[in-house]
Symmetry: C2
Amino acid sequence: MSKDSLLSLLEAASGVYVSGEEISKKLNVSRTAVWKQVQKLETQGYVIEAVPRLGYRLTGKPSKLSVHELLSRLNTTTFGRNLKLSDVVSSTQDELRRLAEEGALEGTLVIAEQQTKGRGRMGRSWLSPAGKGIWMSLLLRPPVALPYTPQLTLLAAVALSRAISQLVPVSIGIKWPNDLLVDGRKISGILLESAAEDERLRYVVVGMGISVNLEQEDYPEELAAKAISLKMASGAAVNRSELIAAILEEFERLYELYLEQGFAPIRALWEARTVTLNRPAVLQTPQGVIQGVPRGLDDMGGLVIELEDGSSRTVYSGEVGNGQAGANG
Amino acid sequence: MSKDSLLSLLEAASGVYVSGEEISKKLNVSRTAVWKQVQKLETQGYVIEAVPRLGYRLTGKPSKLSVHELLSRLNTTTFGRNLKLSDVVSSTQDELRRLAEEGALEGTLVIAEQQTKGRGRMGRSWLSPAGKGIWMSLLLRPPVALPYTPQLTLLAAVALSRAISQLVPVSIGIKWPNDLLVDGRKISGILLESAAEDERLRYVVVGMGISVNLEQEDYPEELAAKAISLKMASGAAVNRSELIAAILEEFERLYELYLEQGFAPIRALWEARTVTLNRPAVLQTPQGVIQGVPRGLDDMGGLVIELEDGSSRTVYSGEVGNGQAGANG
């Protein structure tokens, strides 16, 4: 049985219940097979009510993104103007990296309804179910030297958190360097991948994963307590097209500000929104574990930690806390 | 006519002259075609004497590198232990980057007798004729954060210049960041390509091009005044295997020192060997042209420039001088 035939059957019923028995007969499959297909459709964004004795009823379809709608909402000069939207990709990062190597322009955007191998920080996987989140990658070709890339990481976090706050009534805190939290639970992760020749950045691919309309049951057990979606946090579904347009606009605005005025304004915005500063923290870094109190950012974008002996140390890479923050939750 | 048939003819003559007429008859081609093939063989490292009325005589064959010989000379733990030697590649950088993405180990080395698309800095091409130079790329997977890569660029220059000085009696000056000069002419260029996820370096591919046994006539006109080979500078041919082994040993030693003790010792070695400090310079940077006097390196590996008004500015990316230094000369 293909899920299309089950779908046609439910759609033909126009919101009326169809019993499992009837479906099973018409499609000539077992009732277990029907149940499995129902679950599969649900992972794709369909909402199907199952009521004992009554059967199944289609109450919601996935709201799919459309290039036309996205472009009509865009208020940017370059960001998102070259746009590639796919139903399924293994990873928008890999897709855009390939385009970048082929010479794609700054601002090129790759979006997918679903990622089968979404990646988070530190090589972890990133849950990217169909139709329920924003899984996208943006290409930058910044005329800045390699050592300044931490600044871009921080800029991305500021852009994302500001854009979300414009549309959704939630209070977002940035966890160093670029995780976005609501009530201590993660709603978004950012992954920057960069390629350089000597100190010249060839390109930066900014991966953004935002849990928009996921439900509690979309999360596997190990993420349930650490992750949250915008819908769960605010109580209402969020229009993904609108949010994508807002993110691109805010990102482009801050990026231009950064190229004109340098890191100072970005630093101030980041420091104003972070939850990492001025509380004791344990940092996992490539050089080992550091304990201390993060006090602020330095000129390069490094995190300045005050150590127990009163001295300070700056770190550019690592994670705050239990080392789990790279995954969705 | 294939150059192999001309080569067999010359080899069969065992050092005795073969007239152009005879070759032309035996191979059934014009004398111009013979002359063109002779030139082609010379670009591959063959030495062919041409004397009017006597004809052509083979007096030297390219000394080819061998994996066996290289490994027997190696005094390293990891550098060069995984070794890939090819006759011709488009670029050792591209070859090694591909291996790096497939998971190659730190220390993996790609060497080629000849590159058809050798790359220098800023996307310039790099002259890499067969058998006459060292064209190689070394894979590093350093446990350091992205902003520190300028330090690796400088480390590479120190390693190369020290290794060459051990074997060849020439006085080498490092031009910021990593060109090696003899009497103001370039003998070597280094190109680092790095890939990072956030601030975590995934890998660095260190490309090294050393003009070892090139002759004046190997250089095209535009490079003739700016480039020089070790053989031209010292008056004697240099054993490439020996030099490769010395470079890998010195590079590994300094790399271990750097991972243990940080940048301070590398910085001192670089400053001791550079020709860039304390003389007025014009720097081309991504942010524009800067004029001033370079005074030293900062903790991150940036070049600190004293400006006319007495203030100072640090640059991480750019070129000193006329902007031509990225090519061989």
